[in-house]
Amino acid sequence: MNYQIIVCGGLAPDPLQTLEPVFDTVNPSLRNELMLPFVFDPWAAHALYEAGHLAKQRPGTTVRVVSLAPKAKLQQVMMTVAQKLPFELVALDGPGGGFTDARAVAAALAEAIASMPDLDRARLLLFGGWESATRGAGAVMQRVAERLGIREQFLAVDELSVAEDGSLLIKERIEGGRHQISRCAGPPAMLAWATGSLPEPPNHPQTGMANMRVILPALQKAKTVTLAQTAEYLRAALPAAVRQTRVVKDVPAAEIARELAEWIRQ
């Protein structure tokens, strides 16, 4: 069996940037938000890598990314993301970031998915992050699934495998550092991913250039979306904790844990 995987993913400011909330009761934002470099939301990125992995194993599977973000930013981010694996893009040009309303975002995404002419629910796997790195509400994917009438919903997924009979074995994170394994008869299903277990695929400009042939037209015809703002903000501030940033990549988890423990002990 092959699948139609749709990955919902937004953008987040590069985490190394200075993130300074600019308070406004109706439209709070980050200082110079649109000047900051952005990345594909890390949670959604895990979902995307898992989608690519599954697509490789299941020939005929298509991967499509639905993204609601400022179009120009999305285009910049695609210069990296599109190099990771083959996919198509459905772009929605609208506000991103942490201050948009989960309900409105979910409505826009669901509408875009529902209006795909070739949508095949019998093969549909709806992927996304279990929360976004910006809003962190952990509510969008369930709402999208509900609007699309997908009742099989899995949250904080770390692993998906397909059994011989075509059923899906899904490992979800639950409390206490444990996993729950569920068997789902088959699509349609929604999987909101935690980290999964795949590393970030390396950049491959050749893949990117092949992707851009369909991504660019998609960006050009991105539908403009305005989100109804229902929330009122009383306060927007950085966490009071002092932010100490150190850039490390590929340091073993044990090493990081040791360092953190030492820091806490101090």
Binding site: Q17, N32, M35, P202
Partner: protein, 740 residues
Amino acid sequence: MSASTTAPRREHLPALPGDDVRQVLWRFADRYDLQMLVQSVRAVARGPVARLVAQGGRHTHDWTPEKHALLKEFDAAGITAAYLEPEEGGFLEGPKNLALALIAFELAWVDAGAATCSLATHLGLAPIHERGTPEQRRHYMSLAAPAPGREPKRAAFALTEPIPYVGVETGLLGGKVRIAEWPEGGEPILEVSKRGRFITNMAFANFVTAAVDSADPRIKGSCMVILEEDDPGIFDRGTPTRKLVHQLSATNDPVFQLRVPASRIVGGYTVQDGVIVPNYDHSAIIEAVFRRTRVTVGLMTSAKLLSAIEPLIRYHRDRFRGAEAVPPGSPRYELGLQQKEDVTHRLIDIWAAGEASASLGFAAARLFDELDPVEREKDRMLAEQGVRGPLAAHKAMRKRQHEAIEFIEMQGHNQALRNEERYQQLAADPVIRYLVLDAQANVLCPATKLWNTGHGSVMMREAVSLMGGYGITEDCPGFLGYKWMDSQLEATYEGPEAVQRRQLSVTMTNEVFLAQFRNWIHEMRQIASVEPGTGACTLASAMHLWLWTLEHLQHARDAQGQKLYQTSRHGVTFPMADALCWLLASRCQILDVENLRREGPGRIQQGFEGTVQFLTDLCHVQAARAAGEVARICSEIVYGYLRHPSWDDSPQCSTCFEEVELRQIESVVPGASGFTSEVYREDGAHDTKAGPCVRAPGLNDFARLRAKLDGCLAGALLAKDRAAESVQKVMIPAALDYPQ
């Protein structure tokens, strides 16, 4: 009055210019292939390369497994294949100069040795790429392509030889080629002996393109040959060079004594009267290769200057945070060392130089992208006309030079006033287009190599000093100390500064170039009339002064009656070459910012005004600095070769007034003494100075231009003040995006 002097309230730079701004400035906003390449290379640079540097990978000149592992990263990220055509295993269509320039820029942002390592493979292939036969190109370029399950074959370029042979003087070849065997009716087998010095990639290269001279009457002149590691004979990689810089590249002194078929002569050969005549001598190949690869080297130093900005701002701002006596919110806490004007002003100098050098380098890279197809088209046309061989081609081109100048002059005219039909006819002619672009490229390439690396290394030192003691430690954020040291190699390899100056001193006097230069003066004045804040007017005046000086020098003589502008007179020609570089860099910077002003609004989502205004101020700062350099250099040369008049020179002294006499005149006509020349006292003695002040009536025009230029500096330091204020306010990321 200039906008810089009226200083209306302007917006500040909100955040450091991001990719969107750079893409417009350096004109690849519509090149998605290049934007992806940039992201891909950046991930390698700020990931594995930076980690290796941070872990001390640079502490040895040996080629370690860790360093070797970077090659695989380059392969995976598309860096190795970027030079290749799609049919050879590459992925970029069309000319690749800008692509290679961007690769060098991104890698050198973190470590220029890594950039050298990646580019040396391209350098080794370049002789084959530029001048190889179709078979050589197909074979070796495809071998160099990474493919699944197979490591690509890697190349090295061996020109430099142990002393006393090839260095700056590339003609002094010690490497030799002889005929070992020439079977009847078969292909000759060559015996090649070559020792190399400082050959990059030699620790692992699978094949080498080597420059050798004939030591056999049956081979004519010099050539380049391709040597493979498993050719019969000695392929000794030699000892590693004990270098202090670019440690992420491999450098060795190899020895080759190999037998190879004559088909390895780069570009092929013909047999004439029993003599092998290579189609290209080594100089012709080297020229074709270096004129492209030198641009990328220049951009390495630019990347370092621009990469220094963020760590410097962070260091300065955070300098006093945490001290008990410095409470949060106090100016000292918020601004740290940025409270000190000198700190922000010097940073602006570094930044402006970085922008100008990047603009110059990328302009040169784009120019070669434009030139490459035109050159092929020109070659095709000449071949159709039966013009064969480099000499005949040169002659044919010279004949058309006046038409190229005619075309350039028409470009400078108002469209309504020129003969449009003739103009279009010339514009469509590949030979004319080639002559125009080639004249520019012959100047822009050495200018990039010379100025970006030479002045760049001076500014890198400035960056190191702004980081205080940290600057010269391994812990310096952004590896600034390493970058400073490394920049000296960029100034040296692929032709040290003397070579670039020598080339410029010839190419900058080409009338086809000078005709364009005249148009550029006009172009700067036009920009200045709309955007005076760019400093374009200052630059135009400096360009005018330089041009006047160059023309003057063509016929001027020194005090001994010797011609001033001649090849061997480096004291004249070399500084003039330096001066030109300042002008070109500043011009490119202004053109880039003007492009941003035009194209940016639709593409830059936020902070456009502040960004453009800040970059405009940097242009002004740089233009003023360039003007100052040019004025200094020109004045020194114009006056420096005149003999200083002395009190003993009777003709001069005969015009001196006696002091008493002057007092009497002054009593009748107050102020008249101000118009007199020198004075001698009652005892016959003169003022204590070298002699009468110099008066050179023939140089009045120069003096006028110089005085005008000095006045043009108005507003430049106001621009610097504004830019410095922006530096205090600009938002920077919380941490550098690569380890230290």
